[in-house]
C-alpha cells in the first residue's frame, strides 16, 4: 500500500509539499513537474482530467480555491477514497493557514514555511490509513470516531465548566484520538472542523500543553481561533477553543482546578477503549468487529474488541479492522447513498444509525 500526495501552486507550478505513506520511494521533482504539466496542458484544451485508474490504484488531480492543486496517487490494494483524502488534506491546509492565504498564495515561501506546522497532522492522517499502525488506524476519513461511554454525561458538565473558565465555548475530551465527550455547544462546529480538531489533539505527540492558531473552515475561515490542547493523562487530551486570553500559564492552572477531581471518571472512561462500546452492551460471540455510524451527526463508533476474553481467536485485530474498513470503503459506501453526502447538506437527515458488522462464519 502506498499513498502519495503532492501539493502544487496551480499557477506558478511551484511544489508546496509532497507527502507519502507506505513503502514507495520518494517522488522526484521532475515527476512532480510532469504531473502538474499534464494537468495544465489538458486545462489549456478545455479538458479536465477527473480520474485515472491504474491496476489496483488511482491517480487524481484536484484543484482547490483555484490556487492549489493536489495530486494524489494511491496504489497497492489499499482501499481508500483518494478524493476524500485530498479534500481532507485541503481542509488541513485551510485549518492551519486560513482560506485567504491559501487563495492568494502571495508569498509562497512564507506559506510553505507556515504549512510546515500542519505536517504532523498530515502525516498522522496518512499513517492512519495503514491498518498496521493499530492505535492510530482509522476506518473512515469523513466521520468523527467516538467512544460510547456512560461517563460522557458527567464529563460534559466538566467540559462546559472548563470552557467557561477559559472564556471559550467549544471544548471536547479525546481518548486515543476518539471523541468521548463534548461541551454542550460543541455541536455548533461543522463535523469536518471537529475532525480536524481531533487530529490536532492526536498529532500532539505527548506535549502537555500547547496552543495553536486554527482557522475553522466554516465558522471563520479567515480569522484564527486559538485551540488549546492539554494532556490530562496518557492518551487523554482536553481541547478548548478560545480567544487570545487567558495566557497559556493561566490555563495550565485552570486545567488543574477544573479537572483535578475527575481523574477517576476519566480513568473509568478510558477503560472502555479499545472496546469503544460500554460494557453494558453485549454482542454475539460471532461478531468480530462492528462499525456504527450516525449519519446526521457524522459520528461513528467502531470496535474490534467486542469480547473481553477471546485471546484464542486466530484473527488479529489488525486484520479485523482491515476487513471492516475494506468492506466499508468498497461496498457499504456505494450502497448507502446517505454516506456520500456532499459537504454542507448533512443536516436534515434521519438520526437512524447505520450499523456494519463483520461476522465470522
Amino acid at each position: 500500500m502506498s499513498v502519495i500526495v503532492i501539493a502544487i501552486a496551480s499557477e506558478s507550478g511551484v511544489p508546496i509539499f509532497s507527502k507519502k505513506a507506505g513503502n514507495n520511494e520518494n517522488i522526484q521533482f521532475s515527476t512532480i513537474a510532469s504531473l502538474h504539466g499534464i494537468n495544465m496542458f489538458t486545462k489549456c484544451h478545455n479538458l479536465q482530467m477527473i480520474n485515472t485508474l491504474v491496476d489496483n490504484g488511482t491517480i487524481l488531480w484536484k484543484e482547490y480555491c483555484k490556487s492549489v492543486t493536489l495530486i494524489g496517487i494511491a496504489t497497492g490494494g489499499l482501499e481508500c477514497d483518494l478524493e476524500l483524502l485530498l479534500s481532507c488534506i485541503h481542509d488541513v491546509m485551510v485549518f492551519c493557514i486560513g482560506k485567504k492565504e491559501l487563495e492568494n498564495l502571495k508569498n509562497l515561501d512564507q506559506i510553505k514555511r507556515d504549512l510546515r506546522q500542519c505536517y504532523p497532522i498530515l502525516d498522522y492522517l496518512l499513517e492512519s490509513l495503514d491498518p498496521n499502525l493499530v492505535p492510530r488506524s482509522t476506518i473512515v476519513l469523513d466521520f468523527i470516531q467516538s467512544i460510547l461511554c456512560p461517563q460522557a454525561q458527567q464529563l460534559q458538565q466538566v467540559l462546559d465548566n472548563y470552557a467557561q473558565s477559559v472564556t471559550g465555548r467549544w471544548a471536547c475530551l479525546t481518548i486515543h484520538g476518539h471523541l468521548v465527550a463534548t461541551s454542550s455547544d460543541f455541536c455548533e462546529l461543522d463535523p469536518r472542523e471537529t475532525r480536524l480538531l481531533l487530529l490536532l489533539a492526536a498529532a500532539q505527540d505527548g506535549a502537555p500543553l500547547r496552543d495553536t492558531l486554527v482557522y475553522l473552515q466554516h465558522m471563520s475561515p479567515n480569522v484564527a481561533f486559538r485551540a488549546v490542547t492539554c494532556k490530562l493523562l496518557a492518551d487523554v487530551y482536553v481541547l478548548v477553543i478560545c480567544g487570545a486570553t487567558p495566557a497559556l500559564s493561566q490555563i495550565d492552572e485552570l486545567v488543574l482546578q477544573v479537572w483535578e477531581g475527575y481523574a477517576q471518571v476519566i480513568k473509568e472512561a478510558k477503560l472502555v477503549y479499545p472496546r469503544n462500546f460500554p460494557l453494558s452492551v453485549n454482542f454475539d460471540t460471532a461478531l468480530l468487529g462492528l462499525l456504527v455510524i450516525n449519519v446526521s451527526k457524522r459520528r461513528c463508533v467502531f470496535s474490534r474488541h467486542l469480547h473481553s476474553n477471546q485471546k484464542s481467536r486466530a484473527m488479529s485485530g489488525v486484520h479485523r479492522i482491515d476487513i471492516l474498513r475494506t468492506f466499508y470503503v468498497t461496498t457499504a459506501k456505494d450502497l448507502a447513498p446517505e454516506l456520500k453526502l456532499a459537504e454542507g447538506d448533512e443536516k436534515g437527515n434521519s438520526d437512524k444509525p447505520i450499523i456494519y458488522g463483520a461476522e465470522s462464519q
Binding site: S2, I4, I27, N46, L47, I73, G77, F327, T330
Partner: protein, 846 residues
C-alpha cells in the same frame, strides 16, 4: 410465385444446365465456365467480402422478432447439393443462375422500406433574396443560400456540409450540418436536378424557401451499409461521431521509428481532421502519463482516464503496445467505466485478429480507410446499436454482453444435433465432394466453427482465445445486433486474418450448407419457440406474483397455470417452411409442423426411393433403431464384405439405415454413388427428431415451492462464455417490476464482478506483481438485499396499503476449481437459497 416455379424446376435433377442459362436474364452466367456466387461482385480488391442481403419487406411484417436467417428460401433450395456436388459442377451453375433471379425479384422491396424508415421531421428556412453570400469557390448554391452541400453516399440526396460564416446565423441552431436538403420552393431537389432547379429559383420573385430534413442522431445510421463500406465513412457520420466525443488514436512512442510520418508520431487518428479531434489535441497528456506512471510513480500503466470536456464525461482507455499507445475515447453516458475497460480489450483483440498485431494494423500502408470504417462501426454499434430498444438504456453495455459470449443451455438432443452439424462442417471430408480424390487438395483446414442464434452463441468448436476474438469481432462490428433491426436473408463475411486471399465460394457454400442442414432439421423453428419458452432454467418473470397481494391477483385471473406444469408445450406458431419435395405434385402448401412428418411419409411412398421407406417412419426411430444400430455397427466398417447371400429386401433396408446413421461413412457413399441426387439423408431423420421436441422440460434451480429466481448469470471468463436467460427476457416479461429488478441486478453484478476479480487474479498468479489487497482476495461470495420502490410496485397493480416490502437478493459467488466460474443470482427473499446447490443444478442442466 416466380420463386416457386424456380424451385420446382430446380428440384428436377434431370434438367440440363442449358435450360437454365438460356432462361436466365443475366447472360453473365451463360458462358462462364464456373458458377459465380451472388456475392462475387461484392468482393473487395483486397479479397475481403461482406455481403448482406436483407429480406423483403412483406416478410418482415409478420414476425418482428424473427431471428437471423429465419426461413431462408435460398438455403432450403440448395440443400440437395450439399454432398453431391462440387461447386464447379453444372448444378452449381444452375443454382447460381437461380439465385441470381431470385435476388432480382426481391430487390424491389428494398426501396419502399427505406421510405418508411425515414424521419419525417422537416425544417423550412427562408433565405432573403437580397442576400448574396461571398463564395470562394464561386458556387451558385453557396452564393444564394450560404451553405455548401455534399452528396450523400447514395449519390442522390444532398447533405448540408457547412455554412458560410455570414449565413450561419440564419440556419443555426435549427439546421445542422448533416441534414438533408429536401426541397427548394417546394420542388424536390437531388444532386441530379439541382442545377436545373437553381435558375428557376433565381428567376422566382419570392424569397427561396429551403426545406431540410432532420437527420436525428443514430436514426440515419445504417449498420448494414457500414459493414459493406469499403471507403471511408461519409462526412455526416464522421461529424456525428465527432460530436459524440468518440475517438481513436494510435501514436508511436519513438518517432524515429517512422521517419516518413510527419504527424508528430500520430500514426492513426479518427475522426479527422486532426486539429478538431480532442484526443489528438491532448494526446501529450496521455502519452506522458502512460510513460510516467510505471517509471516514476511505481504504478502500473494507466488503464482508463475519465475526463470532462465540453460538459461531457469521457472515458479514455489506454492500450499500450511496446512503445506505442492506442487510445480510445467513448462518452461516459453511453458506456460506463466498467464497460469501457473491457471494450478496449475487445478492440485490441479484434485488431490483432485482423492484422496480427497493433503495430502492423496501424502501419500497414493504405489501411486508413478500412480502419476508419472499422472504428466507425465500433463506435456506432456501441453508441447507437440499440436504436430499436430505446427503452432499455445501456443495452450494448449490459453486464452480460460485455463480459463474454452469451450462451444458453439447450436440451441435450438439440445440442447433439447442432454439434453434429458443426463437426461435419469442420471435418470437411472432401472425398464426398469430388471423385478425383487424389488430385484434390484442401485449400483450408477448418480450425473451428461456432454457431450463433439471434445473438446467442449456441455452440463453439473454437479454442477459447479464438472464440473470444471472434465474439469481439462480431459484437463490435454490430453483426450480432444486425438481426434486431432487419431480417437478414443472407450474410457472408470473408476476412482473412493477417494476409489476403479471395473468398473461396467452396467454403462459403460449405458453411451455408451446414446452416442449411440445421434449418432442415428444424432448428430455427425449435429455437424460436425455445427462446420464448423460458425453461432452462425457468426464471420468474412476474415478480409481482410473489407478494401476497399479487398472489391474490394471480389466483383470480389464474393465467399462470403454465408455470406449474413440469413440462411446457412449445408454441410453434411459425408457419412451417415448406418441405422439399421430389416432384411438383407433392407440394402440400398448407402443411403444419405437426403433420409434416406424416405428409412426408405419404409422399415419399411414391417417390423414386420409395423402397427405402418401407413401413412407417416411426418404426425406424422407436422400435427398430436401437437394435439395428448395434447390429449394423459391425458391418459398418466393412461394408464391402457384406455377404451376398443376404436377401435383397433386407439388405436395401439395412443400407438405408446405415446411411442414415452414419452419413459420413465413405464405403457407404461409394455404394450409392450412382444415386447422388438422393435427398434422403440424415437430415430427414434429424428433422423429425427436432420436430418431435415440442415439449420442453421446465427446470427450476431454486429451492422452495415457488420459483423465486428472477435472473442469473454464469460466467466462465476463461472460456469467454456465459449462460444467462435469453436476451429478450425482459420484453417477454413485460413488467416494470421485472425490468427494475433486472436493472438493479446488472448494476450490482458489475460491482460484485469487480470485487471477485481480486480473488480470481490472486489464484491465477501465485506471485502477484502488483501489490494486492489482502482482504479482497478472500472474498468468495457477495450478497446484497434490495427493496423495490413503492412506485414500481404500484405500476404492477400492487397498492401501498396491502403490500409488504418487496425484497430481493443479488448474490455473486466465485467457484475457483477447476477454472474460475462466477455465478450471479437474483431471487426473491422469501425462500433462502444455497448458491452452491444452485450452481450444481445449473451445471447439470442438459
Amino acid at each position: 410465385m416466380n420463386n416457386y416455379k424456380n424451385k420446382i424446376n430446380y428440384e428436377s435433377p434431370c434438367d440440363s444446365d442449358n435450360d437454365w442459362t438460356n432462361s436466365s436474364d443475366d447472360s453473365k452466367y451463360s458462358d462462364t465456365e464456373s458458377s459465380v456466387p451472388e456475392w462475387d461482385s461484392d468482393i473487395g480488391e483486397d479479397g475481403e467480402l461482406v455481403y448482406i442481403k436483407t429480406k423483403t419487406h412483406s416478410e418482415i411484417k409478420n414476425d418482428t422478432k424473427a431471428p437471423l436467417l429465419e426461413s431462408c428460401e435460398t438455403f432450403k433450395l440448395r440443400s440437395d447439393f450439399k454432398r453431391s456436388s462440387t461447386r464447379r459442377s453444372t448444378k452449381g451453375r444452375i443454382f447460381k443462375a437461380l439465385k441470381n433471379r431470385k435476388f432480382k425479384v426481391k430487390d424491389n422491396g428494398n426501396d419502399k422500406r427505406k421510405d418508411l424508415e425515414d424521419n419525417n421531421k422537416f425544417i423550412i428556412i427562408q433565405v432573403s433574396k437580397n442576400m448574396i453570400f461571398s463564395s470562394e469557390k464561386n458556387c451558385q448554391i453557396e452564393k444564394l443560400f450560404g451553405i455548401s452541400l455534399d452528396t450523400h453516399a447514395d449519390g442522390k440526396t444532398l447533405v448540408v456540409a457547412d455554412f458560410l460564416p455570414e449565413a450561419k446565423a440564419i440556419y443555426t441552431p435549427k439546421v445542422k450540418s448533416g441534414f438533408y436538403l429536401q426541397k427548394i420552393n417546394g420542388i424536390d431537389v437531388t444532386s441530379y436536378n439541382i442545377n436545373n432547379v437553381l435558375p428557376r429559383v433565381i428567376e422566382d420573385v419570392e424569397n427561396p424557401k429551403l426545406t431540410f430534413q432532420v437527420v436525428s442522431e443514430g436514426f440515419n445510421i445504417d449498420l448494414e451499409k457500414l459493414l459493406k463500406l469499403k471507403n471511408a465513412p461519409d462526412n455526416s457520420l464522421t461529424q456525428l461521431l465527432k460530436d459524440s466525443m468518440c475517438s481513436a488514436l494510435y501514436m508511436c512512442g519513438n518517432e524515429s521509428d517512422y521517419p516518413s510520418n510527419d504527424d508528430k508520431g500520430v500514426l492513426y487518428c479518427f475522426p479527422r481532421p486532426f486539429n478538431q479531434n480532442f484526443l489528438y489535441n491532448t494526446r501529450g497528456a496521455y502519452l506522458t502519463l502512460n510513460h510516467l506512471a510505471p517509471k516514476s510513480l511505481g504504478t502500473s500503466e494507466p488503464v482508463i482516464s475519465t475526463v470532462l470536456h465540453k460538459n461531457q464525461l469521457i472515458n479514455i482507455t489506454y492500450a499500450p503496445n511496446c512503445n506505442d499507445l492506442l487510445l480510445v475515447a467513448i462518452p461516459n453516458d453511453k458506456i460506463d467505466v466498467f464497460a469501457s475497460k473491457r471494450i478496449i480489450n475487445d478492440i485490441v483483440k479484434v485488431l490483432e485478429l485482423l492484422y496480427g498485431s497493433l503495430k502492423t494494423c496501424f502501419t500497414k500502408p493504405n489501411n486508413v480507410d478500412k480502419l476508419d470504417s472499422l472504428f466507425s462501426r465500433i463506435f456506432v454499434s456501441l453508441l447507437f446499436g440499440s436504436k430499436n430498444k430505446d427503452k432499455i438504456d445501456h443495452i450494448n453495455a449490459t453486464f452480460e454482453d460485455i463480459l463474454a459470449a452469451r450462451t444458453v443451455s439447450l436440451p441435450l438432443e438439440v445440442k447433439i444435433q447442432v454439434d453434429d452439424a458443426i463437426t461435419e462442417l469442420e471435418a470437411a471430408d472432401y472425398r464426398e465432394w469430388t471423385d478425383d480424390v487424389d488430385n484434390f487438395q484442401r485449400l483450408y483446414t477448418v480450425i473451428g466453427a461456432c454457431l450463433y442464434y439471434s445473438g446467442h452463441l449456441l455452440t463453439s468448436h473454437l479454442q477459447d482465445e479464438d472464440l473470444k476474438e471472434i465474439n469481439a469481432y462480431l459484437k463490435l462490428n454490430g453483426i450480432l445486433n444486425l438481426g434486431n433491426d432487419k431480417d437478414i436473408e443472407r450474410l457472408v463475411i470473408w476476412k482473412e486474418a493477417v494476409g489476403v486471399t479471395p473468398p473461396s465460394p467452396f467454403y462459403v457454400e460449405e458453411c451455408e450448407s451446414c446452416l442449411d442442414l440445421l434449418f432442415d432439421v428444424g432448428l430455427n423453428k425449435y429455437l424460436l419457440s425455445w427462446f420464448s419458452s423460458n425453461t432452462q432454467p425457468q426464471v420468474e418473470t412476474s415478480p409481482q406474483y410473489l407478494t401476497k397481494h399479487g398472489r391474490k391477483i394471480r389466483d383470480n385471473t389464474s393465467t399462470k397455470q403454465d408455470y406449474k406444469s413440469p413440462t411446457l408445450k412449445l408454441r410453434k406458431s411459425q408457419p412451417v417452411m415448406k418441405r422439399r419435395h421430389n416432384s411438383s405434385d407433392q407440394i402440400n402448401a398448407g402443411s403444419t409442423s405437426e403433420n409434416s412428418i406424416n405428409n412426408y411419409h405419404s409422399t415419399s411412398q411414391h417417390n423414386l426411393y420409395a423402397q427405402w421407406y418401407n413401413g412407417p417412419q416411426k418404426q425406424y426411430r422407436h422400435s427398430s433403431l436401437d437394435v439395428s444400430y448395434s447390429e449394423d455397427s459391425g458391418s459398418l466398417k466393412s461394408n464391402s464384405e457384406i455377404s451376398e447371400d443376404r436377401i435383397a429386401g433386407r439388405r436395401a433396408d439395412r443400407e438405408q439405415k446405415n446411411r442414415r446413421e452414419s452419413s459420413g461413412s465413405d464405403s457407404d457413399w461409394e455404394k450409392q454413388e450412382g444415386s447422388r441426387s438422393s435427398n434422403i439423408d440424415v437430415s430427414d431423420l434429424r428433422k423429425s427428431l427436432l420436430d418431435e421436441l415440442d415439449h420442453a422440460t421446465v427446470h427450476r434451480i431454486t429451492a422452495g415451492e415457488e420459483n423465486v429466481l428472477f435472473h442469473f448469470i454464469q460466467l466462465e471468463s476463461e472460456k469467454g462464455v456465459l449462460i444467462a436467460p435469453v436476451r429478450n427476457i425482459e420484453a417477454q416479461a413485460n413488467s416494470p417490476l421485472y425490468s427494475h429488478i433486472v436493472k438493479t441486478f446488472r448494476t450490482a453484478c458489475k460491482k460484485i464482478h469487480e470485487l471477485l476479480q481480486h480473488s480470481i487474479m490472486f489464484k491465477k498468479s501465485h506471485a502477484p506483481s502488483n501489490p494486492i489487497n489482502k482482504i479482497l482476495v478472500a472474498v468468495k461470495e457477495y450478497g446484497m438485499l434490495f427493496e423495490a420502490p413503492a412506485a414500481i410496485l404500484n405500476q404492477c397493480g400492487i397498492s401501498k396499503k396491502n403490500c409488504e416490502p418487496f425484497h430481493f437478493w443479488v448474490v455473486g459467488r466465485v467457484f475457483s476449481e477447476p477454472e474460475p466460474r462466477e455465478l450471479y443470482l437474483c431471487y426473491h427473499e422469501s425462500v433462502p437459497q444455497d448458491i452452491t446447490e444452485i450452481a450444481y443444478l445449473l451445471s447439470y442442466l442438459e
